[in-house]
């Protein structure tokens, strides 16, 4: 009984013990994923064997478990944009790569996405971009979706820019975009309108070829 009294008196003055850690130890099961074989990936993508090998090594180094979850993805992507906040855009990118909505990117998703971006035809690339902007994947880009994307891109710039990013800068940018793309003025951009407008714009067409030699 005396020990109970002692316990009771000391109860709240003591700091939390390490007992709480034991629960987390129970959840030690690691989730792992192995990608499909090299040959299968070669057929599915337009990369050569060597390219796939080097891609996988990089991928596996960063994510030994073979799966990239959204948090890791955001962290990796944010490292490239130290001045701004890249997490929102990384979220959209993540959804664009995670085609089966499994909540994590496997190596196959990664490599198939890259194949489209780096080795695909211009139309395929445009389709990929359209897919990125179309957040709910319903085939239409609405102003709200575009505004979300645009805000996230502007967020990556951060605070220290010249000229300063005004609060309505993304909104204006979206307005310009819709003026250009939305031919029938119905408030949404469909894939055909998108493709049509992009094909007429030289800037966009030339910039699509920009990253051919990335790998």
């Amino acid at each position: 009984m005396k020990c109970c009294l002692v316990k009771w008196i000391i109860a709240s003055t003591a700091p939390q013990g390490p007992d709480d850690i034991s629960e987390s130890e129970l959840e030690m099961a690691t989730v792992r994923h192995q990608p499909e074989g090299l040959d299968q990936l070669q057929t599915q993508t337009k990369f050569t064997r060597k390219e796939l090998q080097s891609l996988y090594r990089g991928f596996k180094n960063e994510c030994p478990s073979g799966l990239v979850d959204e948090e890791t993805f955001k962290m990796i992507y944010s490292q490239f944009f130290p001045q701004g906040d890249a997490t929102t855009y990384a979220h959209f990118l993540f959804n664009a790569f995670d085609t089966d909505r499994s909540g994590s990117i496997r190596f196959e998703d990664f490599v198939i996405g890259l194949s489209v971006l780096l080795r695909g035809s211009v139309n395929e690339k445009l389709r990929w971009a359209f897919n990125l902007y179309d957040i709910n994947k319903d085939g239409y880009i609405t102003k709200e979706e575009m505004l979300a994307i645009m805000t996230s891109i502007y967020d990556m710039m951060g605070r220290y820019t010249t000229p300063s990013v005004k609060d309505d800068a993304p909104f204006e940018h979206v307005e310009k975009f819709f003026q250009k793309m939305d031919k029938n003025r119905d408030g949404v951009v469909t894939f055909d309108e998108f493709i049509e407008t992009c094909q007429k714009d030289d800037n966009i067409m030339s910039s699509m070829q920009l990253f051919e030699n990335v790998i």
């Binding site: 000391i10 003055t13 220290y160 010249t162 030339s206």
Partner: protein
């Protein structure tokens, strides 16, 4: 940029295609990969050490990396071997697992590194053999505690927008957060000490009147009463404030510290209420004993006390064992002594409970001597009693001591980690490293544009001077950031400069003048105007430090396209402050430029005026002499100062 993340750079660049359709300006040219496609295969094995084993050995565990087809990704065809860029020391235990079926944890290995290796090779740590599992678990626990401490340290920063109530609570819980809290902390500590002291001194006899000694408390009743009142006032205020600020009042009232607080101040109020009734005052005197609980309030102030309390709590089972065995022994020996001494006359061992006192005093080796056995049997049993007492008490004590020592050292380590210097230095280093990457980009921008200039002037020495070799990775990363700038139509800028620009009110008149022109070109005012600028055969040095110039550009272009341009020199003060630079029209007054200079300047901005005859005029320069050339392009060697001029 971290080396590992470099592997993701191609991905980030590819993903930049997502910006292309929304960008309004053309993208910059990508840096060319001059080196032929490098095979990243370095012919090493596990970092150079070659291990050999049978394939069937590896196939024993097909759900791991080495046992499955996943290792084909690491195959090096030329050398006909598999290359893993991992630690060869840790790899030893991984390979031994395949060979013997048992996974061992090498003690010399850092727990995190080992975990990463296991995770890479697809082996779950649960299968560590029994021989090494305890050690592994202990190390893991220590690591987790360390991480927890780090997490708590991060929480130390103050979240913005705290309500008044939250601020007070936080001030109470962490006194070192604000000066007021610290002051209050020390004041309450002082008053606790005063209160305990007065309680003690109250009972000291000082002086005597008539027959008996009078205690100080009775002699100076008023003084002690005032002191007591003051202390109780403070304690009450403190208690009420805590009650007000507590996030969960119910929980707070149930907590031990608050109960101690209440118990400490209650007797005073009861004393106020009570009259000088004889019967009740007896109980009242007993209540005064509770005033001594005020000393427990010190536990908020003393970490050692808390550790002691925590130790006792964590050693509860040992303490319980100690008490239980002592009780057993006391009863046994008391009984024996009683019956042994029963025979002797005028013995003090009148009953068994009376013998308890003797037994306790003997077992704890106190030996007051007020009860002593007289018979021989009694003496024999008495000596056995004292010997066994020593043993029984000595056994659980080291366990308690070691527990205390472990917890105490843990706390010491945590305190050391929390030590301001270490944290600050570390955070500063991290911040510098992070800034380094963005600053590298800004630095490159300036250098890049200077390079453009120099290309035209064909000044060999200076070209080489500026041509810092940049790794391909860096140039690709900078290209990516450049694309982002073009997409949004804004430029990255240095933090100091940004703040400086914000402070300058001089921009307001410019802004008001240019909305018409900028709205014409929309958001692309900046970059597209630069594009049209290129059509004018004057290359312009664009020191990125100013945001005045794009506006100035749009301002000048429609008005006077044919005029040459002045460029002001962007000079940093000796204190490393960047002056704003502006590209201003000849029409612009120099005083407008001067207005933008920073107040503590030691070097004036120099303006090079350029006549159409393309003869350079000497620039006025406070600090440095500029060579008088046709193409007055000057760069300085010191990194603090950058001068840029246009042709």
């Amino acid at each position: 940029m971290a080396a590992g993340v470099a592997a993701w750079l191609p991905f980030a660049r590819a993903a930049a295609i997502g910006w292309m359709p929304v960008a309004n300006c053309p993208m910059p040219v990508a840096p060319r990969d001059h080196s032929k496609r490098q095979d990243e295969l370095i012919i090493l094995n596990v970092s150079g050490r070659r291990f050999q084993t049978w394939r069937t050995t590896l196939d024993r565990y097909p759900d791991t990396l080495l046992g499955s087809s996943e290792k084909e990704f690491f195959y090096n065809e030329e050398a006909k071997e598999y290359f893993f860029d991992r630690d060869p020391e840790a790899f030893r235990s991984v390979l031994n697992f395949y060979r013997t079926g048992k996974l061992h944890y090498p003690r010399a290995e850092c727990i995190q590194a080992y975990d990463e290796e296991l995770s890479f090779f697809g082996i779950i740590p649960e299968i560590i053999g029994d021989c090494c599992y305890e050690e592994y678990k202990d190390r893991k626990r220590e690591n987790a505690e360390r991480l927890q401490d780090d997490q708590e340290d991060k929480k130390d920063f103050k979240p913005p927008n705290m309500t008044f109530r939250e601020t007070i609570w936080r001030a109470f819980e962490n006194p070192h957060t604000s000066t007021m809290a610290l002051v209050f902390y020390y004041v309450t500590g002082f008053f606790i000490a005063i209160s305990v002291l007065t309680n003690v001194v109250e009972t000291v006899p000082c002086g005597s009147t008539s027959q008996k000694d009078i205690s100080c408390g009775q002699r100076y009743t008023v003084a002690f009463f005032c002191m007591d009142t003051a202390c109780v006032m403070i304690f009450t205020v403190e208690y009420l404030l805590r009650l007000f600020a507590a996030p969960s009042r119910y929980l707070f009232m149930r907590s031990v510290m608050s109960i101690i607080d209440v118990v400490a101040i209650f007797p005073y109020y009861i004393g106020l209420v009570m009259t000088d009734n004889e019967d009740v005052s007896g109980a009242f005197v007993t209540l005064r004993v509770f005033r001594v609980f005020r000393i427990f309030k010190f536990s908020r102030h003393s970490q050692g006390l808390r550790i002691l309390g925590y130790t006792l709590k964590s050693c509860a089972s040992e303490l319980g064992f100690l008490l239980f065995s002592l009780t057993m022994a006391i009863i046994i020996f008391a009984t024996v002594m009683f019956y042994a001494e029963k025979g002797s006359s005028s013995t003090k061992f009148t009953s068994i409970p009376a013998s308890f006192w003797y037994t306790i005093v003997t077992m704890t080796t106190l030996g007051y001597g007020d009860m002593v056995p007289k018979t021989i049997a009694g003496k024999i049993f008495g000596s056995i009693c004292s010997l066994s007492g020593v043993l029984v008490i000595a056994l659980p004590v080291p366990v308690i001591v070691s527990n205390f020592s472990r917890i105490y050292h843990q706390n010491q380590r945590a305190d050391k980690r929390r030590a301001q210097k270490v944290q600050k230095a570390r955070l500063a280093r991290i911040r510098i490293a992070k800034k380094g990457s963005s600053n590298a980009y800004l630095q490159t921008k300036r250098n890049g544009l200077l390079n453009e200039l120099l290309d035209l002037t064909a000044s060999e020495e200076e070209q080489q001077h500026l041509n810092k070799t940049k790794s391909l990775l860096e140039s690709q990363h900078h290209h990516l950031l450049h694309c982002l700038e073009k997409t949004t139509g804004h430029d990255f800028v240095d933090e100091q400069l940004f703040e400086q620009n914000c402070l300058e009110g001089a921009l307001q008149p410019y802004r008001s003048r240019t909305p018409s022109t900028s709205s014409l070109e929309g958001m692309t005012g900046t970059c597209c105007s630069r594009r049209t600028k290129r059509s004018v055969p004057l290359p312009i040095a664009n020191a990125p430090a100013s945001h005045a110039h794009p506006l100035a550009l749009t301002h000048t272009l429609p008005k006077s396209p044919g005029l040459q341009e002045l460029s002001a020199i962007n000079i940093q003060c000796a204190e490393k402050q960047i002056h704003s630079s502006s590209r201003s029209n000849l029409n612009m007054q120099t005083n407008e430029v001067d207005r933008r200079n920073c107040k503590q300047q030691k070097v004036t901005t120099a303006i090079i005026s350029i006549q159409t005859a393309n003869t350079g005029s000497p620039a006025e320069d406070g600090g440095h002499g500029l060579p008088n050339r046709g193409a007055s392009v000057v760069t300085t060697t010191s990194s603090n100062i950058i001068k840029v001029s246009a042709l």
